[in-house]
Subunit: 180 residues, 2 copies
Amino acid sequence: MSSDPTPGQTNGRRPTGAPVGFSNHDHGLCVADAMAEVEARCAAEGLRLTPVRRRVLEILLESHRAMRAYEVLERMQAEGLGAQPPAAYRVLDFLTTNGFAHRIEALNAFVACTHPGEHHVPAFLHCRICDGVVETVTSVGSVQGDSLLDAAAQAAGFRIEARTVEAHGICSICRAAEEA
Amino acid sequence: MSSDPTPGQTNGRRPTGAPVGFSNHDHGLCVADAMAEVEARCAAEGLRLTPVRRRVLEILLESHRAMRAYEVLERMQAEGLGAQPPAAYRVLDFLTTNGFAHRIEALNAFVACTHPGEHHVPAFLHCRICDGVVETVTSVGSVQGDSLLDAAAQAAGFRIEARTVEAHGICSICRAAEEA
DNA sequence: GGCGCAGGGTTACAGTATAACATTTTCTCT
DNA sequence: AGAGAAAATGTTATACTGTAACCCTGCGCC
């Protein structure tokens, strides 16, 4: 983990070299905010944020990276929180169903949501070098994230229920590193 | 195949009840056009459209549906064109790499490209009832398919190399059928 | 106390994909 | 035509991803 090719962590606030979504920020605060939002929503909506669910969310929040299900499972096993695949998939299902995490389809992997308080249509930028993921913010109700999709759906009489919008490429930090 | 829940095929030109992408059209012509475009591009670019590759593309073109790799493999086996998974994956890799087919990430499945002659950013509408897929047309170089993604990438200094843009929902035909 | 239900444990398996190596075909160059 | 390189295909084995089905426990509720 500490050998991840993830440069750009120089503000000195985080204890580890965890990836931070292509830019410096106070990751401790970022995590705390997300957890607080999730707690609030669970309280408000009667969702049960059990110890396993909370812990897995914390794990996902550690870095702005997509984790594969079996990676999550390994972490759970290491902490005695479940031994078999269904345990991990059930937790990830809870988190994604409620918008606390998202699945990156092209990677078969999962990433913590960075603004779990809002209803939104997620879209992602994924760096193939450092594996970092940033999630863009688009609120539901206003203009949707993908005008092409909306126009095509409109024209075809198609009712959109879910969207998968992902970009894969190279982040600014890794571009700079490559050119050096 | 003939029991697929795919209504709307009433123009009487196709021999089977294959799904046709949410609307009536001359599917024989649609297939012929696509094959001709692919042949032209292979000739122009020195790509080898071997018998297996050609046949798998034909199979994918039979319907506007996404086929899973092992479905493709079964068809190949039935025709003596390959027995093991790598055979299917290699053909699908050739077709997707060259833009003759696309992978629908959220389905782990593949669909023939409906306009293989043009360079384009594909985006898809996938019906969860009839499993039909339509691909929208957006040429590269003009305005890209997804403004949100472009704006976010621009702001982050992210270089986009590939996109995954998919909508999942219900097509007009299945909506009509559901409401009946 | 009994009931219903969500959460979680466990086994077994289904579905997706690729590494690695052998063989054959095709291309190219002389 | 023949040698050598490169591309395509065949084959075995295995890794990775995901789920069905069943059981058991703990908790709220009448």
